[in-house]
């Protein structure tokens, strides 16, 4: 590589969290005019190294250079001012304020007129920033809560791009985004590259990385393992570098038998949801079925998951648990009937961040670890350890708070919380979000197992490959209604489904 283009260099960078070594003497080089992919298992140090570059936290030891000068930003604001913009893996916005205020957080002074902040000038500039990345449909004057998770990520992107960074870091964002969100991010990344700027792109989607990146850097347990140029990209080689051994071939389900029993377990009848995102929607779900649900943004698929679980108000219609004949009233009732729900918004809805792995996982299984009124600590420990092992949750101990886990490991905690309960009907909203390939394979195997035991899985996902790979039947939603239905088949292609979505 042309060393003139070198923009970021770390030398012997280390980061420890107590006994955990997150980065172990890492020498990373990032060049201009390239999109550099960063890949590695959950907890391998990807977020750690990029957040140190962006100024979110300090390194334990080692040096960093940015444009040839020593680099040691002490805050994210300082990092951004120097020209490193980062879209973080977790929540990167401030609640309770408008989109415009989020975009210009900390820069309100720019809009001061005669001593007061001009709201209209700020909204105007924010709208420009949004339009600039192709999000004309998001209104900058709205509150951040009024838009969904995907659009909030795009607002973050607009904020980062508004400060004109020389290096853009995108940390594991795309799996939460629909096709449209992804193409917006890809366009921006390519634009940056063509302007001779640099991009660091973190993702667990190997196909996506191979397509978008010019170079890939593999991390494993805090060590930089290798550095590959585009011609060297080869999926199995990359996976081997990631996990340090050959991975099994099995990934999705191997059978193409989409027949399921006739027994209906859930009957969604003519439902219109309170948010208005689901309109007169009906479907039936069978025993032992993996039902995939997909669609573009705002198609109502995430609301559908909540509606079925009783978590969202419905205006008309009903959701019936057929075996018991009862209409589902609320989440507690649904759980009593043997249902479980993995929310897409894990930090706000699925986890108590300040609680330990143990407390989070056991919270859904308190009736599985008791003896009469008493909780048995040993039984609880065994119950939690079982999930930690099955999903290889990378943690210092089960008493560690989930807020200190890497993004993918948090997702595993949520999954484990519900898998442990042994639910009859499991609703999974983006269950493999941010999870590395190895553990994804384990999750798919678990889902397949549950199906074989006659359990029902409703799998809502932005990832078409995953839906095609797992579902017996696939429903595509559009504007709150059913746009298409596909049976499991070897011939089913992403292309066919995208046609149906748009």
């Amino acid at each position: 590589m042309n060393e003139d283009k070198l923009i970021i260099e770390t030398r012997q960078l280390c980061k420890n969290f107590g006994p955990t070594i997150a980065l172990n003497h890492v020498d990373l080089k990032i060049y201009r005019g390239q999109i550099t992919g960063l890949i590695g298992e959950n907890g391998s140090g990807k977020s750690t190294i990029t957040s140190i570059l962006a100024g979110m936290q300090p390194a334990s030891s080692g040096e960093m250079f940015f444009k040839g000068k020593p680099h040691k930003p002490s805050t994210m604001i300082e990092g951004a001012a120097l020209g490193i913009g980062m879209i973080v893996q977790e929540q990167g916005y401030v609640s309770g304020i408008s989109i415009a205020q989020n975009i210009f957080l900390g820069e309100e002074g720019r809009f001061r007129r005669h001593g007061i902040i001009s709201r209209s000038a700020m909204v105007k500039a924010a709208q420009e920033a949004l339009n600039n990345i192709g999000c004309n449909d998001i209104d900058a004057s709205w509150y951040i809560e009024q838009i969904d998770l995907q659009d909030r990520k795009l607002v973050e992107l607009a904020r980062v791009m508004a400060s004109n960074p020389e290096v853009l870091v995108v940390d594991e964002t795309t799996t939460a985004l629909s096709q449209r969100g992804r193409s917006i991010i890809y366009d921006i990344m390519r634009r940056m590259r063509d302007e001779d700027k640099a991009v660091i792109f973190i993702s667990h989607d190997l196909d996506e990385l191979m397509e978008v990146c010019d170079r890939m850097v593999v991390l494993r347990d805090g060590n930089l393992i290798t550095d590959l140029d585009k011609p060297e990209f080869e999926p199995n080689l990359i996976k081997r570098h990631m996990v340090g051994r050959d991975m099994g071939e099995k990934y999705y389900r191997e059978d193409y038998d989409g027949t399921v029993s006739d027994e209906v377990v859930l009957d969604v009848d003519n439902v219109t949801s309170g948010s208005g995102l689901l309109i007169n929607f009906s479907m039936q779900v069978h025993k032992g079925e993996i039902l995939g649900i997909g669609g573009l943004s705002h198609c109502g698929m995430h609301e559908l998951g909540k509606v079925v679980f009783g978590e969202e108000k419905i205006l008309t219609g009903s959701v019936t648990h057929v075996p018991s004949g009862q209409k589902i009233r609320d989440a507690r009732h649904a759980i009593k009937l043997g249902m479980g729900y993995v929310s897409k918004d894990r930090d706000h809805e699925a986890l108590v961040l300040s609680a330990s792995i143990r407390d989070n996982i056991s919270s859904a299984g308190l009736d599985k670890i008791n003896d009469g009124p008493f909780i048995l600590p040993n039984k609880e420990k065994a119950y939690v350890n079982q999930q930690v092992q099955t999903l290889s949750i990378k943690c210092a101990s089960i008493n560690q708070n989930v807020q200190y886990l890497s993004g993918g490991n948090k997702q595993k905690v949520v999954f484990g919380k519900w898998i442990g309960r042994d639910c009859d009907i499991l609703i999974l909203d983006c269950p493999t979000r941010g999870v590395d390939v190895g553990v994804k394979a384990a999750m798919y195997a678990l889902i397949d197992d549950m199906k074989r035991q006659g359990k029902t899985i409703i799998m809502i996902s932005e990832e078409l490959a995953e839906l095609i790979g797992m579902a017996d039947r696939l429903l595509i939603l559009k504007d709150g209604s059913l746009a298409g239905e596909f049976q499991r088949s070897r011939q089913l292609t992403e292309h066919e489904i995208i046609e149906c979505m748009i």
Binding site: G18, K336, S343, S354, S363, F374, Y404
Partner: protein, 318 residues
């Protein structure tokens, strides 16, 4: 580093207690640990501890109750009247329990069903209770158990100590078991930590809150009864400082007042000991009451600040 910091932080409340004791032993030249003052210290600590331990559940599940003082006062006054009217310890105890439970259930229902922030409701409730006490007592400022229709037995120091210890140890042990070895404690922590998660996990927030308030009601009733038996009288301002003492106690005991996963029963007992030593130490130094109040406020703010600071730096977005 992080790991050891967490472990060290668990011992902060005990360090705090030791520092306060050492400081006031020196400042009062040992007077605070002398016979009579130690005795009065323990007596106060017991009432505060009983109320605080019960409050751990309430604050733990995210209910900010500012009316502990008023609840305690009303309980003691009605209990006292019942004792005087009947001349029976048993009736007195029953009246204490009934009053405390009714008031706690009332608060619990508000917390469970009413959308208004609970701290506002309980501030108002605190005022209402103090006013009601004045109405009930009319022209009297104190009521005396010695006015009872039949004499209520009085206890000597040894007997009183035994009652104190049985009440406190019994309540403490029951609460530790409920909190650590039944589902209740886990539910309280999850509910206080994130109500949305609690709901999606199928926890019944109404039940959890009601049970928490009932437990705190039992603590208040025990505190009122023990105090009645010891002082044999109750004044209209009894328990006035209890509301703030409980909150300071919980914070000094190492749990956030917003509840959640760091809730622990030990916070009630260690915190109660620390705040009691602090209160009596300050008054033994002969400081003005106003100064003492300011001092308490400063300590309260300092502890809350330090606690929230460590919390914030740990929540890096990733």
């Amino acid at each position: 580093m992080k790991k050891s910091w967490e472990t060290i932080r668990n011992y902060f409340p005990i360090f705090g207690f030791v520092i306060v004791v050492v400081f006031f032993s020196i400042a009062t030249k040992g007077a605070i640990l002398s016979g009579t003052s130690l005795q009065s210290l323990l007596n106060q600590a017991i009432a505060t501890a009983l109320v605080s331990i019960g409050s751990v559940f309430v604050f733990g599940c995210g209910c900010f109750d500012m009316s502990m003082g008023g609840t305690l006062c009303m309980t003691a006054v009605l209990g006292g009247y019942a004792g005087i009217a009947s001349g029976s310890i048993f009736v007195m105890a029953l009246a204490c329990l009934a009053t405390a439970l009714v008031l706690s259930l009332l608060k619990g229902l508000f917390a469970a069903y009413v959308e208004v922030p609970l701290f506002i409701v309980t501030i108002v409730l605190g005022f209402v209770l103090s006013a009601l006490v004045l109405v009930i007592m009319g022209t009297e400022t104190t009521i005396l158990l010695n006015d009872a229709v039949k004499p209520i037995p009085s206890f000597n120091f040894t007997q009183m100590s035994a009652i104190n210890i049985v009440a406190l140890a019994g309540f403490f042990i029951v609460c530790v078991i409920l909190f650590n070895f039944t589902a209740l404690g886990r539910k309280v922590k999850i509910l206080g930590g994130n109500p949305v998660t609690a709901r999606q996990t199928g926890l019944n927030s109404v039940n959890i809150k009601l049970i928490s308030f009932i437990i705190s009601g039992v603590g208040v009733a025990l505190a009122a009864l023990v105090a009645l038996l010891r002082i044999r009288s109750v004044g209209s301002t009894y328990g006035a400082d209890m509301g703030t003492d409980v909150m300071i106690a919980l914070v000094l005991g190492g749990m956030p007042l917003t509840g959640g996963p760091r809730t622990r029963i030990s916070a009630g007992i260690i915190g109660a000991l620390t705040i009691t030593v602090l209160n009596s130490g300050l008054s033994m130094l002969g400081l003005d009451l106003a100064i003492i109040q300011i001092f308490r406020a400063v300590i309260y703010l300092a502890v809350v600040y330090v606690a929230s600071m460590t919390y914030r730096t740990n929540l890096l977005p990733r």
